[in-house]
Subunit: 423 residues, 2 copies
């Protein structure tokens, strides 16, 4: 594991999931009761605008009061990108964001030029309302995120009045952040927030779905906030470093959405500029915790699985090998059945395009060796995998590259949710 790994003190009930962040005293307090408003200088709100026919919360706003408006973002690697992704990538070029508006109830993907105009109109509407409210704002300072079914136009007769309403709902307290975290949920069963508090500065965040684990309306959207003083380049460094080791290594079904977006906004309202390494570690800690929450709430999940590859020729090989195993349907169905079928692990890793010498590979489940010296270890078929967490480790024995991919089993629940989902 080439990840930062200091000791972490978490709130009661949160298990340690590896990784973490260092503050000046060597510890960091992570809480899940606060999200984007845990950082000073941010307000948020979540409302039911009528985009979802169910009447559930479906429109969220994150507003940066400043004084700084620095921001960075990472987006889906899918070549087919939704209108809000195309829009937000464009506005992020300035490295400045005043606000992020997010909707569930529709992805606005594969909706043609009309869909892009809808996104543009959404940003314009929000900029106008914020300006009316006393904060001069341009549409180019507004990022837009959408999640829901691919292919349908958004009901703009609901979205635009909703924006007028949500600007009036902005509240400085924590409840605004929690409402926002609720408003971006689709098939999520719980809202997902995390915040890390340091001496005089904070990082907060919220997340929904996971681009890699859910149906076409389960894009991963993440908004992170901090009150440090930082340049867009510093934020970009922290964000890319953190997502590479967290969200990018969460792989439930190999799918990647048209809408995946992770944004980091800095208000500077703490007045503190912190060393890059501290900012990196703090953003990592929040992303790591949100990743664990996304895995735990994956559709149909009955097992939380970490696939760790060590001894690879490079870190890249380790990621590739771990991802190949994590995506293998035969491994995933075996884990659903609590079956320590290590032969499927060998068959899967053998298909990874990485440097391998089969006789050097060792495999363990929950630290019990099951394969070594080119053959099964006696008793390997009796390993008890009936619990909800499974640690699968594969050492390739050819180098010192290492990486962990978080994944889940492949269950009846996954098939049910994704086949029964209406389009």
């Amino acid at each position: 594991m080439h990840e930062p790994g200091p000791r972490i003190r978490r709130d009661r009930g949160f298990e340690h999931r590896g990784g973490g962040a260092v503050s000046t005293d060597g510890t960091v307090r992570l809480v899940r009761t606060q999200g984007v408003t845990a950082a000073a200088g941010f307000r948020a709100a979540g409302i039911a605008a009528g985009i979802k026919p169910t009447g559930a919360l479906d429109l969220a706003l994150v507003f940066n009061e400043g004084p700084d408006l620095a921001a960075a973002g990472v987006f889906t690697r899918n070549q087919v990108r939704a209108a809000p992704v195309l829009w937000s990538q464009q506005v992020l070029r300035s490295g400045r964001l005043r606000a992020v508006v997010l909707n569930s109830g529709g992805a606005n993907a594969c909706t043609g030029p009309g869909g892009f105009q809808d996104t543009h109109a959404t940003a314009e509407q929000l900029a106008g309302e914020l300006s009316n409210w006393g904060t001069e704002t341009g549409a180019g300072e507004v990022a837009v995120c959408s999640t829901g079914l691919i292919g349908d136009r958004l009901p703009m007769d609901k979205v635009l009045p909703g924006i007028t309403e949500i600007v009036h709902e902005l509240a400085g307290g924590l409840s605004g952040g929690t409402d926002a975290a609720h408003a971006i949920m689709t098939t999520d069963t719980v809202p997902k927030q995390a915040a890390a508090h340091y001496a005089g500065w904070n990082v907060g965040g919220m997340a929904k779905g996971a681009g890699m684990l859910a149906p076409s309306l389960a894009t991963m959207l993440v908004v992170l906030t901090t009150d440090v003083v930082a340049t867009p380049d510093q934020l970009d460094h922290a964000l890319r470093g953190a997502t590479r080791l967290t969200f990018d290594r969460l792989d439930v079904d190999g799918a990647c959405s048209t809408n995946d977006t992770v944004l980091l906004l800095a208000s500077g309202s703490s007045g503190q500029a912190v060393p890059q390494a501290e900012l990196d570690a703090a953003v990592f800690a929040v992303c790591d915790d949100l990743s664990a929450q996304l895995m735990a709430d994956a559709e149909g999940v009955t097992k939380r699985v970490s696939v760790t590859v060590t001894g690879a020729a490079s870190e890249e090989d380790a990621v590739t090998a771990a991802r190949t195993v994590a995506r293998d349907s035969l491994v995933k169905t075996a884990l659903f059945g609590s079956d320590p079928n290590w032969g499927r692990v060998l068959a899967a890793v053998g298909m990874a395009p990485v440097q391998l010498e089969p006789d050097r590979i060792t495999v363990s489940f929950d630290d019990v060796p099951v394969f070594a010296d080119g053959a099964g270890v006696p008793g390997a078929r009796e390993v008890d995998l009936s619990g909800p967490d499974i640690a699968l480790r594969i050492d390739l024995g050819v180098g010192d590259g290492a990486a962990t991919i978080r994944t889940t089993d492949l269950s009846h629940g996954y098939v049910e949710e994704n086949s029964a989902y209406s389009s």
Copy 2:
């Protein structure tokens, strides 16, 4: 489709699945009641040697009476290869095979040096018995194939006596071939045979499982026979060309076994040497039909799906794009639910590492357009996919590369068979 595609006359009840072979009169008769013994000069047998605890048939033999012993083979691309694959790859270097011995009930993969010794002993035993029987044979003329659970040693106290017995069971009639086709079954529900008869010469074959669609004991094993006079190089050309367009384009769950083996043996007993193109087409026809049978009998299958990509920058891009869609769990679960969720198709194809321009893509289900000009086609959500066969077509609009991948849906049955399977 850059595949040979002449008209085919099949036995009643067999639908046309694309592709085929040309004989001198432009047609070929394919039957599924005959397999490896459809070609002159081959005998086969299948017996219950006690390798499977159930007492089912589990040992098969294909014997080439000659006069020629020319042979070619293609093997799994998995870096983790079973002992019988390592052995058979080695003996195939000579381009000669007298016999193939196949067992179900155990893959003999990941079994260390002891497992390789078991394979070697199996070949030696068969060579000795055939020599006793009057056909001087060396172990280096015997290919070995195994299929079953990965990781366990074979019960050699059953295998070796079984070989003695099966040599005495060899029969020249068709029933021997059918017994052999039964003896290599694992989770297959039906034996799979195909034969193509031409004017004076024949190609036959049998297959089991499919390396890409089944649990760890569902390796794809295929043995093909012909009575033409051909060199090993001619056989190799025909076999590689056919497998590239058939078995290599059957992709049910992206998995590839440690044991996959496809062999082609020529006896020369027809006395006819045929043009390379005719041999290629005949071997293709049999492989294509066996591929269709493998897809139809895939574990848990409720839908037979063809994913055709046209308009790609190259044939390679078309294969990559079609395979990416065919492996996407969200597309496959939607098809299980008869849901024309074209947004998932767009999201999947967008992740393929190929040349794409999203606005040029068109998608259709069963020839009904659902996506064009960057947006959904009106009525796209109402396409009826309730039947067992689904043709998904994606035109990328950037070139003239084309390819079809055969796949299936992702069903409760797949999860059940692969999670409940004991190891």
